[in-house]
Amino acid sequence: MDQATLVSGLRYLVPEVFLLAAAAAAMLTHLFFRKRGHRWAGLVSLAGFLAAAALLVFAPRGAGDIFSGSLAVDRFALFFKLSFLVSGILTVLLSFRFFDVEGSEPGEVYYLIPLAVVGMMVAVASVDLVSTYVSFELFAIPSYILAGIFKKDRRSGEAGIKYFFLGTLSSGIMVLGMALVFGLTGETQYASISGLLGGASGRLVLAGMILFFAGLFFKAALVPFHMWAPDVYEGAPTPLVVFLSTAPKMAVFAVLVRSMVALFAQNEVHWTQIFQFIAILTMFWGNIAALIQKNVKRLMAYSSIAHAGYIAIGLAAWGETARMAILFYVPVYVLMNAAAFGMILLIRKGGTFGESVDDFRGLAAKSPLAAASLLVLLLSLTGIPPTAGFMGKYFLFAAAVEKKMLLLATAGALNSVISLFYYFRIGKAILFETDPDGTPLDRSLNPQLILAAVALALLVLGAFPSLLGEFAASSILGT
């Protein structure tokens, strides 16, 4: 790659480069500020995220591929990048209060998150096997550290190790698939590979595709590759779970969609069945396993697995409607999961936060605002109008019905009913029950305000889905 391509390509990466600089600045801030260095680092990274979001909106677009065809500059990538930034911002905001209460000061968090986000922003734009793999590792490694960052907590350590081992394993599987594809075609760029494969269904092609997908399923925690997720989400520090359960998964879905459009475009017949099977399995498994959980974090971990299953409906019911539906669900998923794990920061219990469903008893009396926000959140997670969660599911089911996959749509619909049962165990605790132990509300307004903002966004997007839908519809790939 000569210098000219490099420089002309960098023009399109200003937000990423800026975020990288912000991460470096946060690292230095953390090192050199003696007092409250972690707080300053947090503010630097927050500012970095906001600036990157602003830069993204005004960044030049539509140049085709850059860096000799390794990265694409399109609205699809932009859509995901903005979602990652939202996830990063929510995580940083929630982290402030959490680490204050927990008393440890892992300032590393504030530069690991932007670093991981940079990796994801590159991953969703990748149209080349090499850049895909490298960018995956770029966000995976900070994620492992984030999961295990709580050195005093054994659960966090376990989460980090587990995440690391299974994450590396899945990367290995994915790279094996890539190697097969490369070996068959001798190309690394999606477009050239796709042309050479041309819908071939030889054993090696299918093996390569399936291994590549399997690695991605692992990272997206789709059943049966999900085993790590509940443990990691339960063990990792709560605000970081907000990040880990949203951004990396969405990056994986972006790569899946892009590979289906650009890499294995002509192998659709081969993957439809796989995705249909995975979607049904994931929804049922996630929702049924969530039924018996008493710990909110673990419950929401299974719920997030189930929600990834709903997105997989879109992958199975492949088509323009499905791609729009997936895009609509991505930011909605980010918002819902951020709030689902963020709600744990509401209740103080001893030196930490209450994680059990019982800790939420009587919340309505303690804070009507928090209770109302959580109610909206639970409705949205269940998929009841007028919330964004309903609209998201509605689009996905519509995509399935359009492809005449009635079984899939019905399975999705029935899963809403199953999920109602456990979501409203929390709802019941919040609104119907009284608190016998007097667990206090956290006095910081931070989580309450964030939850209220998310709830408002879910309601507005539920009542006026076109606000997001038009953007999603104009960002789909491959039209």
């Binding site: 409705l379 009841i384 109602l420 119907f432 076109s466």
Partner: protein
């Protein structure tokens, strides 16, 4: 038609929501102000729905006051509202019953007052929205929106087993509705619109096999709501545990959404499937009539008795709808209103003694008529209206249903008529055990008769019961044309009766066998 620049139907749907926002601004401690505000809002809403009558043309079968705007352009979902006579009557019933239910809650609700009224207003938005939506997605949204406040009304202010009853209600109805959602989506990909009017105007109907599947998907959603045997098991729990106002709205309005769904969507959209499933529907309706009545006879709890009587009464409505005889369908629609009036009132009546005695066991009472004469009179009128005594509203509806059914199949009518006899049995027996005999229970010695506020909640219902019973023409006039339009789609051979059913020429279709092959 607009009022103050707001299209009238939008205004009618969202007035309670505006009231809700106003209510939230009042501090929760000032319960008096909260109650007053909620009563004023529901009262204004009733007046607003009444104002629809001023410009409504009862001679037309078409949708009126239609409002249309894009909602989700990518999926051709519209914000499409409109009413015909059927919707109008149900909207009026809803706003009246909500107003009365709110009024009846004044003393009954002592804790979490502000939340209670907030949920009531939210419920009203959902209920009215269901009856005025003509876009299937919009309809579905309102249909679901209404579940949530009812869940909380039962779960927070309900009786002993409220948690169980609340989640059971929610799960059952959600199960039915998500299956319906899949059905709605299947329709969309056939018609490429969610607009009910456009679907009907297109003149095309789906092939029978597909129609049947979609009909069954809708059936599940609606039948659970009605509720038809065997989908009725949520109802006794929900009714018994709900607070009085919740039961009134459940019985008075929510159940009607099921039958409304059948007449508004199932019959016109799936005419062939509707005809095909007549045997199933009629058998279920007849079983509901007899089973509901028999179970009512056995009840020890007054509220449960009335709850099961709803299963029986709604069976009549379903029977009337699925005879596809214009007379019976009109009777069914009128009976929806009648059931709302009489059963709504009966739940209020039970609520009155429950508020005073905190029990609803029939055995706890007896001889109340000597102590509470006014109450006894109100109870008697409503019990007789529920039984179907001539001169009161129930008679007109049931008579029209039975007469229309008789012309189609006399066996059905005969079976259904036994339901009326059983209905008289459980209702009169209930009245006898509670009201007559000697006032023996010492706890009942000090009971107080109806207060002015309580009597005021009954007065409109009593007046309506007599009005419909003596002079039903204005009510039937509203539903005449729209019902005939729908029946023509599903049963083209039916000859509309022009005259009032009691004139000799009426009720007798010229062809002895209407286009049904189900005899």
């Amino acid at each position: 038609m607009t009022i103050l620049g707001i299209p009238i139907l939008t205004g009618v749907v969202f007035l309670p929501l505006a009231g809700l926002l106003l209510l939230l601004a009042i501090p929760g401690r000032r319960t008096g102000a909260v109650k007053a505000a909620a009563n004023i809002v529901t009262g204004l809403e009733f007046l607003a729905t009444l104002s629809l009558l001023l410009r409504f043309n009862p001679g037309s079968a078409d949708m009126q006051f239609v409002e249309r705007a894009d909602w989700i352009r990518a999926f051709h979902v519209q914000y499409l509202l409109g009413i015909d006579g059927i919707s109008l009557l149900l909207v009026l019933l809803t706003s009246l019953l909500t107003f009365l239910a709110t009024l009846s809650s004044w003393k009954a609700i002592a804790e979490r007052v502000k939340e209670y009224y907030a949920f009531m207003l939210l419920l009203e938005v959902g209920m009215i929205g269901v009856f005025v939506s003509l876009d299937l997605v919009l309809f579905y949204v309102f249909w679901e929106v209404m579940l949530v406040p009812m869940y909380f009304l039962i779960g927070i202010w309900g009786g002993e087993r409220k948690l169980y009853a609340a989640i059971k209600f929610f799960l059952y109805t959600l199960f039915g509705s998500v299956v319906m959602l899949v059905g709605i989506l299947v329709l969309y990909f056939q018609y490429h619109t969610f607009d009910l009017l456009a679907m009907l105007e297109s003149g095309s109907v789906l092939p029978l096999a597909l129609q049947s599947w979609v009909f069954l998907a809708f059936f599940l959603g609606f039948a659970i709501k009605v509720p038809m045997f065997p989908f009725h098991t949520w109802l006794p729990d929900a009714h018994v545990e709900a607070p009085t106002a919740g039961s009134v709205l459940l019985a008075g309005v929510l159940l009607k959404m099921g039958t409304y769904g059948f007449i508004r969507f199932s019959l016109p959209l799936f005419p062939d499937a509707s005809r095909k499933f007549v045997p199933l529907l009629v058998v279920l309706a007849l079983v509901s009539i007899i089973y509901g009545a028999l179970v009512s006879l056995m009840q020890k709890d007054m509220k449960k008795l009335i709850a099961y009587s709803s299963v029986s009464h709604m069976g009549f409505v379903m029977l009337g709808l699925f005879t596809f005889s214009p007379l019976a369908v009109k009777g069914a629609v009128l009976q929806m209103i009648n059931h709302g009036i009489s059963t709504g009132a009966l739940f209020l009546i039970v609520g009155i003694v429950y508020e005073r005695r905190h029990t609803r066991l029939i055995s706890e009472f007896g001889g109340l008529s000597s102590r509470l004469p006014l109450y006894a009179a109100v109870f008697l009128i409503m019990a007789l209206s529920s039984i179907g005594l001539p001169g009161l509203n129930g008679f007109i509806g049931e008579f029209m249903i039975l007469m229309g059914t008789w012309n189609v199949n006399w066996v059905w009518a005969a079976v259904a008529a036994t339901g009326i006899i059983l209905g008289a049995a459980y209702m009169l027996w209930l009245y006898q055990r509670v009201m007559f005999g000697r006032l023996e229970n010492p706890a009942n010695q000090t009971l107080k008769d109806l207060t002015v506020r309580e009597f005021a909640t009954f007065l409109p219902l009593i007046l309506l019961a007599f009005w419909i019973g003596v002079f039903p023409k204005p009510f039937i006039g509203l539903i005449d044309k729209p019902v005939e339009k729908i029946v023509r789609i599903v049963n083209p051979a039916a000859v509309p009766e022009r005259a009032f059913p009691f004139s000799p020429a009426a009720g007798r279709p010229s062809s002895p066998t209407p286009a049904l092959e189900v005899r």
